[in-house]
Subunit: 339 residues, 2 copies
């Protein structure tokens, strides 16, 4: 049970050959699934991995990959992480997660910690507050693959996986127009981040394409929470020409707006239509289910992991920049279905 | 900006004394908050932490703490993690998160990985599938504090922070009885885990105290998801004496049951009352809001971190067993309010 466990120990324990153990651990299809599972289980119990890791460390590989997200408690981020794990676990990697809570110094510290822990790669979505890029350069200098997903900065040598936010917003806004809405307001996010800028641009383009004049008063930057959604829609409804629809770049703010509108006696979707962004599970759970743009987070995680796998192990590949853009999907639900 | 950054470099950069830098980094109240923040920000940017970590590693401390949970995407677990972070960050610790997806071999691997990464402690909630305890012994042998929260095993030398599940269930069931419900069914969980066993016991005791006969047919083990909640309540409603209330040890299964009951034309709470467990945010979001038992997850995380802090650094303390039990709180909402 100590660090000296070898495949021979496992073979002895299970009364099979070391070659079978080795093949089973490498998922060789010539070995039955039952045996493969048994060998893996036994290896884990005998702490075989630890041994392999010690060996790997000597070779400069830890088989650990760090994933950094602003918050783990958003469905979008936890689903991306799930995708990363699904892709990396079968390759023998372990995934270590950290959250920054949108604080730049925390992001910098996390990267330092992961570099010290000798991770083989970092897959991350940057914090809203991040301005500096030195901490990213530090990763690249160590020849460790860095992959951004969703929220990114354009840095030479850094690959990214994003969703086409412009298209998602365009689809959502176009849909609201098709429902007969004419005064569509928009809850935007920090314009320093591409994702929110692109969502804003997609919204504007859809208005333009339908000959609806863009009205600055209808756009406000909100925090991604219920309270700010409530407050912001209240202000909007006090305008001379109050809006008749909302496209929110946050599902949480959209839900806050809906709660406020309903409290004020406004019928949804008859008098007012709402579409959110991210397809958080609660949007589907609600009795008045909320239309939302899905960003395929699991697929995004899998793609980010694949990009990492392409780069790791092949030092020639580390600096190859790959930009993957996924296509979003609009889920139309009760909050915007006038039929 | 490399690994040789010292407090003198930070002092030079900010044109203050090294003593001030040291005091600021140690949160000495004699230094103004503004200066402390500036010094910390600068230290992080100059990668001072990395240096401190290298030093710490030599002394056998990494200032990393591993948190292991079954799933990061449950509000209960992400809130506990938040509590752990809030308590540990000010002490200079970094929190590394891993999820097991309820798979024992994954839990074992994670512990091996964290031990290799030389974490200073492990705070965790065990997976449903975990039977063996060797991996926990390995942690103890290395004199690394191990703290269980919520889901635990009774192991000598391991502290734990839990909520009084028995009491939570008792309160929930008693409340249903007070609403006039007489045939209360229970969605339970894996009885090998204390938390689910205690919830079941609390339910039974409340029935007993109200002279309501316990009916085995009214108890089923469910998965914590919508689908299983739907299926299970469908079966229950086909009994000769169908139940008139549900106390579910899972909010997700409770929501599934509500959706199914409503689809079948049953009025909630008039004809059927429902109480869940965990106080997931969606229980409050719903128009038909769901009553639920709150487990004070943030407080649980803070307590677990405090227990860790008491044990770390004082080798005399590592083996002191501390059992903290928090009190649950029942939130009564529409799904069980007949008034």
């Amino acid at each position: 049970m100590d660090e000296k466990t070898t495949i021979y120990d496992i073979a002895k324990k299970l009364n099979i050959t070391a070659a079978t153990v080795s093949r089973a651990l490498n998922d060789n299809p010539r070995i039955s699934k039952k045996t493969r599972d048994l060998v893996k289980e036994t290896a884990a119990k005998m702490n075989y991995k630890q041994n392999k890791l010690a060996l790997a460390l000597k070779r400069g590989k830890s088989y650990n990959v760090g994933v950094i997200v602003p918050h783990i408690n958003r469905n979008f981020f936890s689903s991306v992480i799930r995708g990363v794990e699904e892709e990396l676990y079968p390759q023998g990697y372990h995934v270590i997660i950290s959250q920054t809570h949108e604080i730049e110094s925390k992001e910098i510290e996390t990267i330092n910690t992961l570099l010290n822990a000798q991770v083989d790669g970092i897959i991350m979505s940057i914090s809203k507050a991040t301005i500096g890029v030195e901490h990213f350069s530090r990763v690249l200098k160590k020849n460790i693959p860095l992959v951004f997903f969703d929220r990114k900065k354009d840095i030479a040598g850094v690959s990214s996986v994003t969703v086409d936010d412009f298209k998602g917003s365009y689809l959502a806004t176009k849909h609201l127009i098709e429902q007969g809405c004419k005064r569509i307001c928009h809850f935007s996010g920090d314009q320093a981040l591409d994702i929110y800028k692109n969502r804003f641009e997609g919204y504007k383009k859809a208005l333009l394409d339908s000959n609806i004049e863009f009205n600055e008063e209808y756009v406000t930057e909100v925090m991604s929470d219920l309270e700010d959604g409530k407050k912001t829609i209240q202000k909007m409804m006090k305008l001379k020409n109050p809006p008749d629809a909302l496209f929110s770049s946050s599902d949480f703010a959209a839900l806050g707006a809906i709660q406020q509108l309903k409290a004020d006696g406004i019928q949804i979707p008859e008098e007012f239509c709402v579409v959110g962004f991210s397809n958080e599970p609660f949007t589907k759970f609600m009795e008045l289910s909320i239309s939302s743009v899905d960003q395929s987070p699991k697929e995004m995680g899998r793609m980010a992991a694949k990009v990492f796998l392409e780069q790791v192990g092949d030092s020639q590949n580390v600096k190859i920049e790959k930009k993957v853009v996924l296509s979003p999907k609009l889920h139309i639900r009760k909050s915007s279905s006038r039929k």
